[in-house]
């Protein structure tokens, strides 16, 4: 199996002399193609820092990140932009849809930026909008649709250019439980039928239970890992158990 993401000895230190704080402390991570992985951990564990570094939005203090065989720590800004557009897909907690674009235009944005032929654009749009069940709302504007629909639109945008890796930052954070379940079902479906590689940061055990693999981090280091076996319910229980031992923000667990 191909390795999509390899992070070696990642460190991220904030602050200046005398008052240093390590958000990440020598993290090693490997993600294979077709994996659906969640990163969990209490607040301040470094989840978002890790995701930001993989997203190329932030830079590690030391260590390397390889995505799809390319070393992103050695790229300049233009290369990074290109790389983000071609190799990564993003789903954000607050959707990050452009309110001046219709749903359709939001979804195809990455393709237009790469100047893909417009007939190909329409074909790809058809595919993903069907998969995510948003065909009926393509002509609407983001402010006219629900949160769940917004997040599925964002997911469609994230997958339309067949990225090597889809990164999701608390994708269910702003959704009610029903919409969360819908979205997670969609992501699971994407992972299965499209063999998309998804890396998701969440502190919601329910959301994590849809994944195949969960990485727990605490205080900037890898704590433990869980692989899914059995039903989703059993997996959910296991996650809760780990979280209990992990401590931290218990209030978030259920």
């Amino acid at each position: 199996m191909d390795t999509v993401l390899t992070a070696t000895n990642l460190r991220k230190v904030y602050g200046s002399r005398g008052n240093l704080y390590a958000a990440l402390n020598s993290i090693d991570l490997e993600i294979e193609k077709g994996e659906f992985t969640a990163i969990m951990g209490p607040s301040g564990a470094g989840k978002t820092t890790l995701l930001n570094i993989i997203s190329t939005i932030d830079f590690p203090t030391s260590g390397t990140v390889m995505v799809d065989g390319q070393n992103i720590s050695k790229m300049n800004e233009n290369e990074l932009s290109d790389f983000r557009r071609k190799k990564l897909g993003f789903i954000f907690q607050d959707f990050n849809l452009l309110d001046t674009l219709t749903v359709k235009e939001n979804i195809i944005l990455p393709l237009t930026l790469s100047s893909v032929k417009h007939t190909d654009i329409e074909r790809k749009l058809n595919e993903v909008s069907e998969m995510l069940g948003i065909k009926d709302i393509l002509q609407k504007y983001p402010m006219e649709i629900s949160g769940g629909q917004k997040q599925r639109t964002a997911a469609a945008r994230a997958v339309i250019n067949n990225p090597a890796l889809i990164l999701a930052d608390e994708p269910t954070g702003a959704l009610d439980s029903r919409s969360s379940a819908d979205l997670l079902g969609c992501l699971e479906n994407l992972n299965k039928t499209n063999n998309s590689t998804i890396l998701m940061v969440t502190h919601d055990a329910f959301a994590a239970s849809y994944c195949k693999r969960i990485i727990f981090i605490k205080d900037g280091v890898l704590f433990t890992e869980l692989y899914r076996s059995g039903t989703r319910k059993e997996f959910f229980q296991k996650i809760l158990d780990v979280l209990k031992t992990l401590g931290g923000d218990n209030s978030d667990i259920i």
């Binding site: 997203s55 800004e77 932009s81 071609k86 452009l98 309110d99 001046t100 674009l101 944005l109």
Partner: protein
Amino acid sequence: MILFNLAFKNIRRNFYSYFMYFLSMVFSILIYYTFVSIKYSQYALELAGLSTKIDASMGGASIVMIIFSAIFIWYSNSFFTKKRKKEFGLYSMMGVKRRQIGRMFFYENVLMGVLAVIGGIFFGVLLSKLFTMMLMKLMGYNIAVSFVISKEAIFDTLKVFSVLFFVAALQGYYIIYRYKLIDLFKAESKAEKEPKANPFLAVLSVIMVATSYVTAHTLFFMSPIIGMLVTLFLAISGTYVFFSVFMVFLMKISKKNKKRYYKSTKMIATTNLLFRIKNNSRTLATIAVLSATALTAIGFSYSYYYNILPQAKLTNPFSVSYKYQGEEFNRQVKEIIEKNGQKTVFDKKISIINIDADIPAIKNLPSEIYGDGQKRVSVISQSQFNQIAEKIFPGEQVYLDGYTNVIVCDNSYSTVFTEKYEKEILELTNGDEKKELRIYAIKIIQPISTFFSYLPVIVSDDLYRELRHFGDEQNIQCYELNKPLEAGNIIDDIRKILPENVYLGQYYNYYVSLKEAFGVMIFISAFLGIVFLIATGTIIYFKQLTEANEDWRRYVILKNIGVSKKQLKKIISGQMKTIFAVPLIVGLTHASFALAILVRVLGVTLIKPIIMTFTAYTLIYVLFYFLTVSSYTKIVLSHRN
């Protein structure tokens, strides 16, 4: 005092958005001060040798400045207040009383006003000497202007702008006081809907503007007042609809072409603009109309200023001319000329014959309307005319073909206002004797001063000899000096020796008075134009920066999904290009059509001064464009997540 300190801090914090507003206010006050200080220094300037009254025109200009400043302050103030609604809401939530917030905002306004007035007057005092000298130079005076601090002008400026700023401060207080808390929080979160465009209205706006251009050139010449009203109504309302509907319509159409629309950053740029234009349509239309007005005013006065000499020569072609008084008198005149250090480049006795005449095809002879009401012409021979033309009107020499063909010189002839009589019959009469001649061509020049001649008609030398018995022949002594624009003393000296009832033809005095009148006019219109330009540029600038502060999230999203910095800059500058260019282009087009009328009325070519005016105006606009793009980009790129 705490509120006052907060107000001061607020100004410092919001400096970037207030800065351009502040600068243009300082500039407006500076210009206002300049106008009133010149108005109040009329007396001092008279002592120094100024002969024209300029206080009235400066007074008028300063009133225009007051009106414009009032609108500008009112507009900017309500804009800034609305922008900061949320901040005021936050204060309310923290338990600050509305009256206190209102007072704080009031202090802010007063503080800004005080600073602007101080700055404006300071620079006004500093530059007033320079500006007054500039005015004197434009008016053709070479008088020394001393540095004066005009107390009246300072007091006047203080008075006017204190009132303006005080009213603005009250207005801010009122806005705060009127809002409900919930409204204060909703200020910036108003959801935007995609604007709609009625295709019928879109087409109508273009038709309205186009029609106004046509009526300007047709209806205006039939009935100037109705024509002007109709034209202005069509042009202005058409411009507003053009920006609010047509521009949106155009962009919606451009969305239809998927092949182009889906290319690179095109989609983002188009949709962003779609929303921007709709929100800004009224501002942009106002800017287009203001630009057109300013450009027309500057273009007109500059063109006229540019054409003062030919205008002055249109009634009196020679530096010095008078009815022939004998050779002895001529000798004295030449003595005077030489004594004043000048030489003649033309020195001839020109003969004309005044004859009763009529052109049956038209109601009145041109000289009848503009002259002394007699149906007469002044005949001049071709050879004499060509001698004049060689020196005075190079390239205008004539070679009459055939015996009865003549050329009429009509300085008031224009292709629009006057009756046409080219190729018509000219009848000369002497009692019962009649002669019919054919008008071969019309020249818009005046070969002999209008005071010595009726409508000048050029005839062949043979015909001239034959016409001697038709009327009385007169001899006019004509001189052209080598430095005709320094003829003041010569004219005064000649007048002293000239018999009282003999008229002295000369264009120098007329030239001087035109130069004074249009020197004042160009000074006022240029300064007012620059104020308009800077104020409108500033409005676009701070509106765009506000939008940058509201929309930065959009650009962060784009950055996150992989839009490079270069592409972002392209999107921003593309957007700004449209926002700046469209009002400018519309303004330039309007002004071109307005000035085209003037070209037809004045009958002179104004291409060069108009192009210079347009270029200068565009250059300043381009400067604003670059300033806005760079500030916008900086704001957008400063946000990371």
